[in-house]
Point group: C2
Chain length 225, copies 2
């Protein structure tokens, strides 16, 4: 039942790859419920049964696709945090640096996948709006630990601030980030063409500033050390 490659590790990985890529495209366009096995098969030029053969179920297919997309972003986040820390071993990170490390990697991945730029933004954002149970599991698996890391970094800057206060604004910052990613496709329409959807770098840059400022100035009892 399960595909186990014994020796030659690359017998015909093409189909499996195409299925995942197609899933990513269609998921970001239409969400979980809007994605059908038949549409995936068609988009990937594969047979309907292929997806079930390679992944077992629709859930497993989408989950694998998400894991593949999200994990590199999270690794890059931690990497950026480490880089910033090494560059200034004496002083603690700034709020701006922290949110830069959180948001920048998404921008990098969006820019990397040249075709259909906003699809990854849509994908990440949709991950937080889809109500399905398996997405809930997803969050606990991929986002809960990284959220904890960022909470710790921020509370290092505001050692006297109540934990509740830091959590509140981290929550708002993350929500803003996700909202901005989700709404990005509407940018051009919303601004009557003044801002175009392909200005991903500018969006990311502005978003980092926006969130940092909101966090810094919105924080009550902000007894910064």
């Amino acid at each position: 039942m399960i595909a186990t490659v014994t020796k030659n590790q690359k017998p015909k990985i093409a189909t499996r790859r195409r299925l995942i890529e197609a899933t990513a495209r269609l998921f970001s366009l239409h969400g979980y419920n809007g994605l059908t096995m038949r549409s995936v098969a068609k988009e990937a030029n594969a047979n309907l049964a292929a997806a079930n053969y390679h992944f077992g179920s629709k859930d497993a297919l989408v989950l694998e696709m998400l894991r593949e997309r999200i994990q590199p972003i999270n690794q890059r986040r931690l990497q950026l945090l480490e880089i910033y820390k090494k560059n200034q071993p004496k002083e603690p990170l700034s709020v701006f640096q922290i949110f830069r490390s959180l948001i920048q990697p998404i921008g990098e991945e969006i820019s990397k996948s040249a075709s259909s730029r906003c699809s990854l933004a849509q994908l990440v954002a949709r991950t937080f709006t889809e109500p399905t149970k398996f997405i809930e599991r997803m969050h606990h698996r991929f986002f809960s630990q990284i959220a904890e890391i960022y909470y710790r970094e921020l509370s290092l800057i505001y050692p006297n601030a109540p934990a509740k206060e830091v959590y509140w604004h981290l929550h708002l910052a993350v929500s803003s980030m996700l909202g901005a990613l989700a709404q990005h496709r509407r940018l051009e329409d919303f601004t009557k063409g003044l801002c175009t959807e392909d200005q991903v770098d500018e969006m990311i840059d502005r978003l980092i500033h926006f969130v940092s400022q909101g966090f810094t100035h919105g924080l009550r009892n902000s007894t910064q050390s």
Copy 2:
């Protein structure tokens, strides 16, 4: 086919009401695709055919429900803007007041509907993530004009700022608002119980501050008059 009440204006409005209420609950929980006519009928203790009889189609049912929810909020927004203006006819509105008028009405409606507090937040937020075409129509019908009004108000405060700049940050502010509404249900989980989901007023209050600060300090060339 279409229900037209001739004389006695309230023949049996109960079913129609229950259908809309059920639609609101299920829509905010499961989105458009996750909402089925059968689940609506069951939730409303009505027959499967009742919804189609009263509204004609699933689209029309959901659209009517959304209209009923969104229009009072938009009216209240404009009303708040007018009130603030009357209270200070000489000086222009502040950024804080503008975003207060934008966000506060949602909090009021959430608090009003005592049962299932976060459902309206979910509902409004979902309205912006659902990809369905009829929701796109929805936006142009109910949100495009009010977005224009808020752009004008903000550009009154920053008369020298480029339109693009104001649009950019209004977009970010609105995205943050929607993100915060969408993520509200995750607040308790995200903050490990420190912040509870029923603290709607606090969330709204913090959100207004967060967004105002992000807008004010994030704005480049912010030559405030």
